[in-house]
Symmetry: C2
Subunit: 310 residues, 2 copies
């Protein structure tokens, strides 16, 4: 059976992956997730993108928000805030906290993030393999035009992406190595799929880990545009992308060096030629993945751009 | 004003301390608590005795149980058990967990248990000083007659004190030093009060930390019997004390080397002479401390046995 690797951010990727696991054999699928958004809160290691994928594919996500747990409560974080005066800008639900405790305990015992992730994925019965992009501590940092250097989550969640962005860097990336299995999975992949995630702080972050982008060079790479009609489907890519890349074609241009196929929304059909001119095969379809069925159609459209699915 | 030091276990001590803080100036009171029962759960440092004291004196305890938080919920521990298959023999409520997170974060950052305790005590507005007996990692271990070596909490909570006890030891005690301020407080104390706590695994554990029992030698030491009518008021002292010490007089005999005054329940009045023969002054009163007022009367009876209160 064909092997597939997906590079994934959080919520948008998770919604797409609901379809990808229907389009391929999950046991032949490896999902490599961004960990640049990871943060420590109250001494715990929080991995927002890994968890969004796990909860969504494991059937435990708060479907309306797209992150966190369904039926969630906030007893611990309320106590941390009201009794202990701890910062509460990042929501930590009680059920969610159990995941962070399990992860943090593995790490505190000398285990790796890969090991913690495998343990959590097993508890959720994920049928595919979920890997962090790296086991190394990396952090996406946002430099604001008002001269501050913020952790990505402080900028995104804490300040609601308010301050204008002067630059983005992945702290620790130079010393990071891909997590065990990442390069092997890419090398063996019949297709590498770029999920419809933020091109800068999700996919771009994964590609910043030395070795990963190089590994894509000789693989069939397809992607799904996270930009529809000139705006991100969700999130804040518009706050991070240069204006000339803020389109389905603009993002394809970012990936042009290794991209073989690109799925764009029907609303962007007029940009198909621009992408084709990059030497990239194009599929145009409905990419607003409100249901797993739509997500499956998008996944099939993406895979259809590369053998052995075409 | 007279300075007082109290050596304290958990629930029984906390109920007595509700009265002691009414009988003395809390700002002149130092409570030294047993940490031999401390354990790590899900990577967090749990200090049951420190927390029973804090929650009781801070007004947040579950009054009926005498431990844990009032209005407590179990969302995190339920998730840990049901989703992640983690052991659930030790109840960790959600609000309680916030305390363990704060403590564990201080420790993970290189802080001491004393520092974590001070921070938690401040959040609860405790008017007295609460110190752990030591900042060193120590653990009360129970050797059972069926040949097992269990952490105290595994024996007490996990197995409900079922297995017969062959021996008790405080792992790490030899290398432990009293926490900063403990010996200084004892040296300056006008009275050291032994709370009505388990003589073996609470008071005995504190006295196992090198230096503490020696420091009592020239101080006025009074205690309140945890044994009433030949049985512990609560807990499992009967499972740990040799039969000849399982009485208000028997416990006084354990402490005879440094004990100056002893408060016994009216039901044990017939044992007063036996204690007096040890050279210990005796007060007999109602020691079932169902209200702070009764606890205050017990505290005043204890202090009345030593100057400057007599």
């Amino acid at each position: 059976m064909p092997d597939v690797v997906a590079l994934a951010g959080g919520i948008g990727a998770a919604r797409f992956l609901r379809g990808l696991v229907r389009a391929v054999d999950p046991t032949a699928l490896t999902v490599v997730a961004n960990t640049g958004d990871d943060l420590r809160l109250h001494g715990l290691h929080v991995s927002p993108d890994l968890d969004s994928i796990t909860y969504t594919l494991g059937g435990g996500v708060d479907a309306e928000r797209g992150w966190g747990r369904a039926g969630e409560t906030l007893a611990v974080s309320t106590e941390l805030r009201d009794r202990y005066g701890r910062p509460a800008w990042f929501t930590l639900g009680d059920r969610d906290l159990a995941t962070h405790l399990v992860r943090s305990e593995v790490l505190a015992a000398g285990g790796t993030l890969s090991e913690a992730t495998a343990r959590i994925a097993a508890a959720w019965g994920l049928g595919f393999r979920l890997l962090p992009m790296t086991d190394a501590p990396v952090a996406t940092r946002i430099t604001t035009t008002d001269g501050r250097d913020l952790h990505f989550q402080q900028w995104w969640v804490g300040e609601r992406a308010g301050p204008d962005v002067a630059g983005v860097r992945l702290e620790g990336a130079a010393d990071a190595r891909p997590a065990p299995g990442v390069l092997e999975a890419i090398a063996a992949a019949d297709a590498v799929v770029l999920c419809p995630s933020n091109p800068v702080v999700s996919i771009g972050t994964i590609l910043s880990v030395p070795g990963i982008q190089d590994a894509l060079a000789d693989r069939p790479v397809v992607g799904v545009s996270p930009i529809v009609g000139g705006a991100p489907v969700r999130g804040m890519a518009d706050r991070l992308l240069p204006p000339d890349q803020l389109s389905a074609a603009g993002v394809a241009r970012r990936y042009a060096g290794f991209l073989d196929g690109w799925v764009m929304d029907t609303r962007d059909a007029d940009l198909a030629d621009e992408v084709a001119d990059l030497g990239v095969r194009v599929a145009v379809t409905d990419t607003i993945m409100t249901t797993p069925e739509i997500a499956e159609a998008v996944a099939r459209a993406a895979l259809g751009l590369v053998r052995p699915w075409s």
